[in-house]
Symmetry: C2
Subunit: 528 residues, 2 copies
């Protein structure tokens, strides 16, 4: 059986969910029909879009929802007031009467549009809050971060997630690999993630490997077999090329390390070249070993830069590859250049401006910890109990919630771009292709737009009704879908600096309903 | 059995650890004796100290180290070059020949002093790199963050970790609870963490609970039993006090929610008061219900503020508590005030400057994601192979490594403060109490100090030699130890702004050895 994170159980919740559940139970309200919206209020990273992720884990959580006896004992220790009836209730609890509508995993998510709408008995729906928030927020954040890096790097580059050592715990590492792949990365260095989710895994050596060799004498095996089994004088050949090319200042330990590594992986020779001196030692040593490999019938792969001026070093490296390729009439000009070392979105953009010859980026810390914005502020708000819509008031208008059961549609314009997302009351007339619809700004009543959509896509799908409502979608399909969605978005919404906000609108009916309720519920202060 | 994170297995590693291991294996060097240091180069959060944490998890990882067959199959799929012999080697691999010295969990850690020194066969020690880094870095980061918040809040305040929903994944949440407790917090809202590690858990209600009630009519149960089983007219009493106190502008739904909650938890009544209007509705409603509770023989606990000006609101709340306490001649003046809402280290300091009446802080996002510095840059560097010391050169002097097997001592001065940490070569004469020792700056040869230590504490202890070398330490003990260590540190090292750096020094022998090796190994460039 594949390993799972054993922490993801109903007990992975905040105590207050249980105290609330007990208070509802005690007042006999735990069976009241309730509706909660899970959403965020602000896109991360100063951007204007977010990728929704984490759905399949959330559904797995619903599916397995069941309190273990030990966990119930622990809860009752914490809440000694609890009655035996509550204990039995917890024991029998599952998600068979819960219903969830959600965005499609990998879809674009925008502020205040529910990512999930959870409906069912108040008690159980309340208990789901903390865990669902935890399961959705970080995956969505990392997928968005990865997608921003993909946009910055361009489509023709390979992006590999390298962040396990800097991630916030083992699960942070595994989730980072999984959801950066969903957000458009090409692979990871994380073996566990590759094993669990099937994305490509890559990696070669660290500086310690290079420095573990001191000289050619460290190598016991002097020859290499070519693919047909014939022996080649591997070390002699490498030294011969070193003489021919006049590389007389290279580090011997590094040369030895490269030879030993190429011996182990003759078809996968990719060398870390900055241990001593990239241009005076690393690249020359790499070229000598590559020529010797080539002579034995193998194609070298390329090099990795892990320090210094990546623009300059990659350009100079490419020149050296071309020179040697021309001299020996081979394809070395196309060898791969991998770069790592504290790369973030800004570095990628700056490298593009300066020009570079990098084919593959390995990205760690900034990707996995989302350094620029390490949490997505997802919230889970009660919007209805029985037939009463509910709101959360706030002095900050941006924090007001939209009461009642809502659903949303993406309206596309003539040019094929999405124009806006429209939230409506569940049950009111849906927007239709070619039919004019009034779209209202959520807060400012003077800001309204008529839209005649060329295409209307419903955003919310029923994903759980006592059980999963669809087969789970393969990772590659979600990834392709996410990239298509981002592709479809107008360029100015994706601009790194001051992007145009993507509109989230309300139908006229919803607008009126919401504002009436705000006026009704908000207290009128007295000033003296 | 208590849940564990199933991801923490030998396969939770970067592919390059396995390619290197195979390259060593292929060159018959995997059995070479090797020494690795795990350390960081810069304290987080602009500070001058770090708390070392994660050791017990790391030891558990070593203890269980064993590749499952499925995982070996996966590795061999990824590395089709691998021989059957390598496969068998992986199959038989464990940490029985590994030795680890480390700082004590909860101890102060400073830049470049190894947190761990790992020794043993090169192959297995290499494979441990990524996982050990992952298991140590985030725990140390979060413990340090928590300790900084503890210093900012002061010793007499309670600090509760509230961050599950914003943490980077389930494991991020559980680790945040565990290691913020280690770093001086008093508890968490996370039930799973409480269950696993035994720290106190707290929590009451969310805004949704309050807004789920519309009016007093929502309450079916009008009475409450006092501790002796006598019935009291709970609702009537609350309304009576509302009249008496002239609170005629409070929200009825909120009053109902408080009554229902107090009914469920009569001895644990703590109310969230900012759903409608803190001073005009929340506190008045809380006071009415508290007086009614008191009449039924229960002591209310207090309130939670989750928005607005926490300094002003807490002071005004305390005044109202005192007024009502005086009027009814009870102890309401001492009711607890809890505050939450995006609190970070700076908020805590600023609140102290402005004055406040908060007793307990609930801290989430900034604590658990370590927003200010979301990763601790731990590295794992090869410092010796067989009897050859190894270094990692870098153009950035701060990134140079210190070769060879080293150990460290904390030297205390007359006043009881630690003066500096001294690294020496393993085997050289240890520093001794009352005996003058020369301590050299690691990089600048002109900076040297004589120290006559009043006390000498060895920092590195053998914690693993084929098996754990000590019983595991209870969490509370580690927490007390960590707080004592930080207490012992001179105040200026803990100053929030521009703290004085704590000195990390080398013995003269180590200094000479290191600098000689740097000179020997660093390439001399040619300029033309």
């Amino acid at each position: 059986m594949k390993p799972v994170n054993g922490y993801v159980k109903p007990l992975l919740t905040d105590l207050y969910e249980l105290t609330m559940a007990y208070a509802y139970f005690n007042a006999d309200r735990h069976e009241d029909f309730a509706v909660f919206d899970l959403f965020f209020r602000k896109n991360p990273f100063g951007g204007e879009f977010t990728i929704f992720a984490g759905l399949s884990e959330a559904l797995k959580f619903l599916q397995d929802y069941h309190f273990e006896d030990d966990h119930i004992d622990y809860i009752c220790e914490q809440l000694p007031q609890c009655s035996d009836k509550f204990r039995s209730w917890l024991k029998g609890l599952d998600c068979s009467r819960v219903k969830m509508n959600s965005l499609r995993e990998g879809d674009l998510a925008f502020p205040r549009i529910p990512m999930m709408r959870v409906e069912g008995p108040l008690g159980i729906c309340q208990l789901l809050e903390s865990t669902l928030l935890n399961l959705v927020a970080y995956p969505s954040l990392i997928a968005t971060n990865a997608m921003r890096m993909r946009l910055a790097a361009g489509k023709d580059k390979k992006l590999i997630e390298f962040g396990m050592r800097r991630a916030q715990g083992p699960d942070g590492a595994v989730s980072a690999s999984r959801y950066s792949y969903l957000g458009g990365f090409d692979g990871t260095s994380n073996m566990m993630a590759g094993y669990l989710f099937g994305m490509p895994v890559s990696g070669t050596q660290a500086h310690s490997y290079i420095s573990s060799y001191t000289s050619i004498d460290n190598i016991s095996e002097k020859t290499i077999d070519d693919p047909d089994g014939n022996k080649h004088e591997f070390i002699q050949d490498a030294l011969k090329y070193r003489d021919e090319l006049g590389f007389n200042n290279t580090n011997d330990g590094e040369l030895a390390a490269f030879i030993a590594y190429a011996h182990a992986f003759p078809s996968g020779f990719l060398a870390l070249v900055d241990t001593y001196d990239t241009l005076d030692s690393g690249i020359p040593n790499f070229l000598c070993v590559s020529l010797a490999l080539k002579e034995a019938g193998y194609d070298p792969v390329g090099i990795r830069l892990d320090s210094g001026d990546l623009s300059h070093l990659s350009k100079r490296t490419r020149e050296m590859f071309k020179e040697v390729g021309a001299k020996y009439n081979n394809d070395f000009a196309n060898l791969k250049i991998v770069a790592s070392n504290e790369i973030n979105e800004e570095t990628l953009r700056s490298l593009n401006q300066q020009g570079h010859e990098i084919d593959i980026f390995g990205i760690g810390t900034h990707l996995v910890t989302c350094q620029k914005d390490p949490s997505l502020g997802c919230v889970y708000k009660l919007v209805q109990v029985r037939d009463e819509p509910k709101i959360k008031l706030s002095e900050d208008i941006a924090k007001m919630t939209f009461p009642g059961r809502k659903e949303a549609y993406r309206l596309y314009g003539e040019k094929g771009y999405p124009l806006l997302d429209l939230m409506i009351v569940v049950g009111e007339e849906k927007p239709q292709e070619g039919k004019r619809v009034l779209c209202c700004h959520p807060f400012e009543e003077a800001k309204r737009t008529y839209v005649i959509p060329s295409k209307v896509v419903p955003l919310h799908n029923i994903v759980w009704e006592g059980k999963p409502q669809h087969e789970s979608t393969p990772a590659d399909e979600i990834r392709e879908f996410a990239m298509r969605q981002v592709d479809s978005l107008r360029k100015d919404h994706k601009r790194p600096l001051n992007p145009t906000p993507y509109k989230v609108s309300l139908s006229e009916k919803l607008f009126k309903f919401v504002h009436e309720m705000w006026r009704k519920e908000a207290p009128i202060r007295e000033m003296r």
